[in-house]
């Protein structure tokens, strides 16, 4: 009996031993002199998987070291759990996409300092901040994303509203009321299709009002131990407004209904969304983004100061548990991706990114809303993505349910603020 146990243990030991000893070491070992380094990138954005694979292939084609990069994708809210699973199983990725400072912090002891990289020097001022722990930048911003009220230019035109004249909250209310009064002529179901059934939409919406409280700084938001809802009453004003003029029941309006069904088919005038919907819009109606799409700022701070929330929600970190050659190759890849002509072409073309680096021509950016965003960011006229810096799980478990309760009339705004603030402190 004992020999049987011993045998099976021995067998299994051999099995795992082979796996551990084999693959990774041969990469860093002597064979690396003649090249063949293989890296893998952990991707949390499923919508760009194919483009990233293409990018990786182009890199290996021109690589002198015969490097191959494979892409692993886990997304749709399960990305962080997937990444953690990779780490706890010992199969650590060499490059990983990290969302926000809490996630960078979690892996900070195994990330390479990126401050000496060429691409870091080219990054737009302040954008490295979102991947910086204890003053050491640990990630390269993947791209710039931004969100606010995305509107349908056509519908605004027909209703006789000039979006450029919306310079205060009152102007915004007036525009909404004008749209509502002409619902039938405009052929729209309602003015808004706010996705009350998506937790990340509630989270992003809140950034409009928590960014001013944290001085439009990601770092301040990350270090904050409490949330006082200093601009909470402004959030309430907006919430009350769209809840009246929204497709109902608002709590079951999900992303696909709000964007793919209503917004793109001219059935609502506005959604609270970000520029990541552009590829989807292009798939359904190739002219929509270039001809009809616009973005309105949110007056989150005061009646007259409107801002679009923009920043880099994703950072690419490099694993430090690799051989020096591998780390160097990973850095080369990122430099190539953002600084070489070929890489840049893919970044603005295939990937349709708004780049987080200086030195791109605004004309290279494809759709007008993305261009607007890039220019606003260069001029520092944007609010920060403070919503990525809340305590882990807070927006899914606290903010979103409580916001839904307010939308359905189950909670007063005071209770909403009190409850979410208390949990914020507790979970930080």
């Amino acid at each position: 009996m004992f020999s049987l146990v011993a045998l099976s243990l021995l067998l299994s030991a051999c099995g795992t031993g082979d796996m551990e000893g084999g693959a990774p070491q041969s990469n860093g070992g002597s064979s690396a002199e003649r090249g063949s380094i293989s890296l893998d990138l952990f991707n949390q954005k499923p919508e760009i998987t194919a483009q990233l694979e293409n990018l990786a292939e182009r890199y290996s084609e021109q690589s002198e070291n015969d490097t191959t990069i494979s892409i692993t994708t886990v997304g749709s809210g399960e990305g962080s759990a997937g990444l953690q699973a990779r780490f706890s199983s010992g199969d650590e990725p060499s490059l990983m996409m990290l969302g926000g400072l809490p996630e960078v912090q979690r892996y900070s002891h195994t990330l390479v300092d990126v401050s000496d990289m060429e691409v870091s020097a080219q990054t737009i001022d302040g954008l490295l901040e979102g991947g910086t722990i204890d003053e050491v930048p640990l990630g390269i911003p993947l791209n710039i994303e931004g969100f606010g009220w995305m509107y349908n230019r056509d519908i605004f035109d027909q209703a006789g509203i000039d979006p450029d004249t919306i310079n205060s909250f009152n102007d915004f209310v007036e525009a909404v009321e004008t749209l509502d009064s002409q619902k039938e002529e405009l052929g729209i179901d309602e003015v808004f299709a706010f996705s009350g059934g998506e937790n990340y939409i509630a989270n992003q919406f809140s950034a409009n009002f928590t960014s001013p409280e944290y001085n439009h700084s990601i770092l301040d938001a990350y270090q904050a131990t409490e949330l006082n809802w200093e601009y909470g009453d402004r959030m309430q004003m907006y919430t009350d407004l769209f809840n009246v003029y929204n497709v109902q029941p608002i709590l079951t309006v999900d992303y696909s209904r709000s964007v793919e069904e209503l917004f793109v088919h001219d059935r609502v005038a506005m959604v609270h969304q970000g520029i990541w919907i552009v590829p989807t819009l292009n798939d359904i109606d190739p002219d929509f983004a270039s001809e009809k799409l616009g973005i309105l700022p949110v007056f989150g701070e005061s009646d007259t100061e409107g801002k679009i929330v923009a920043g880099s929600p994703w950072f690419i970190g490099i694993n430090s548990n690799m051989s020096d050659e591998e780390i160097e190759e990973a850095q080369n890849f990122l430099d190539w991706m953002y600084l070489s002509e070929e890489g840049q072409e893919i970044v603005t073309g295939d990937l349709a990114f708004v780049p987080a680096q200086e030195g791109y021509e605004p004309e290279d950016i494809q759709d007008p809303v993305s261009r607007e965003l890039y220019e606003a960011l260069l001029e520092g006229e944007t609010a920060a993505m403070t919503h990525n810096q809340y305590p882990d799980g807070w927006f899914q478990q606290v903010l979103y349910p409580q916001f839904q309760r307010y939308l359905s009339g189950d909670r007063s705004w005071e209770e909403f603020e009190e409850h979410t603030a208390a949990e914020f402190e507790d979970m930080r």
């Binding site: 009996m1 049987l4 146990v5 099976s8 399960e78 962080s80 759990a81 953690q84 780490f87 706890s88 979690r106 059934g197 029941p249 709590l251 079951t252 305590p391 882990d392 799980g393 807070w394 899914q396 478990q397 979103y400 349910p401 409580q402 839904q404 309760r405 359905s408 189950d410 979970m427």
Partner: protein
């Protein structure tokens, strides 16, 4: 000599499964209990004693999820068994080919995974029901899944849809095993169909109840996939069942120690309820 050999064979056959159980069930359980005594975030952990367990008592959402799951299980276990038995009685009548067709149809939903069922029914509740509502003007059909009550009944309906056919199969096999002479004898003594069912078939079905109740109860407690696809806890966490609450604690809040503590309590509770049920229904079983 022979005795020794058979002992060797005995262990040779038992050991692989014992090892498997130890590695995939016992070991994780022991490690889990260990983790539940720490403040682990999946990465670093330090020992904090029973703090996680005391904390549970004041976790409103967890207690709510527990209550919700208990309510859900009670309602769906009763309904599934009633419907499953009803379906079994229908298809065991002498209906010829139709009975085979009906069996297949009733069993079909069970072949579809919980995730898909959840999405199909989400579409039915949110879109199809809304269209019926606007067409007929009946308020009953509007706003499904938008509040806690319809969320609850939505989950119950989908679970009934999925499980009833499966439970039907179990009842069919037991119904088919009831000796015809017993019914015949009952009829000779003047029992009508109704009496024959309640006095003869029903008691003889007791073992089927033991199995079916156990299966539905255990399944109802552990639902995650359907819950995720249909409501994902919405609106405002009111349909978050325990399994989902535990997963969210572990993988959204990264409080893995705390999630483990919840899971241990959950395990004890499910074990307690299921074993009590098996014990109680076993006593009702009769031997023929």
């Amino acid at each position: 000599m022979r005795g020794k050999h058979s002992k060797l064979y005995y262990w040779a056959f038992v050991l692989p499964s014992l090892a498997a159980i130890f590695i995939v069930i016992l070991l994780p359980l022991i490690l889990g209990i260990g983790t539940s005594l720490t403040d682990s975030d999946g990465y670093q952990a330090s020992f904090i004693g029973l703090q996680n367990y005391t904390r549970l008592l004041s976790d409103d959402q967890f207690l709510y999820s527990l209550g919700f799951t208990l309510r859900f299980s009670a309602v769906s276990v009763l309904l599934i068994n009633a419907i499953g038995l009803g379906l079994a009685l229908i298809v065991t009548q002498k209906l010829g080919k139709i009975s085979v067709l009906l069996r297949t149809i009733f069993f079909m939903p069970n072949l579809i995974g919980g995730i898909i069922l959840g999405f199909i029914w989400q579409f039915i509740f949110v879109r199809a029901f809304a269209s019926i509502g606007t067409a007929t003007g009946l308020a009953f059909f509007s706003g499904w899944l938008a509040d806690a009550t319809t969320g609850f009944w939505g989950l119950v309906i989908v679970f009934l849809w999925q499980m009833s056919g499966y439970i039907m199969i179990i009842y069919i096999s037991f119904l088919a095993n009831i000796p015809g002479e017993l019914i015949e004898a009952g009829e000779m003594d003047g029992a009508n169909k109704w009496q024959a069912f309640w006095k003869i078939k029903f008691p003889l079905l007791a073992p089927a109840f033991t199995i079916s109740l156990f299966l539905t109860l255990a399944n109802a407690f552990k639902i995650y996939d359907m819950n995720l696809a249909l409501t994902n806890g919405a609106p405002y966490g009111s349909t978050e069942m325990v399994a989902m609450n535990i997963y969210n604690t572990a993988f959204f809040q990264y409080r893995q120690g705390y999630a483990q503590a919840k899971a241990i309590i959950f395990l004890l509770l499910v074990a307690l309820i299921s074993l009590t049920q098996v014990f109680l229904t076993r006593r009702k079983e009769v031997d023929v």
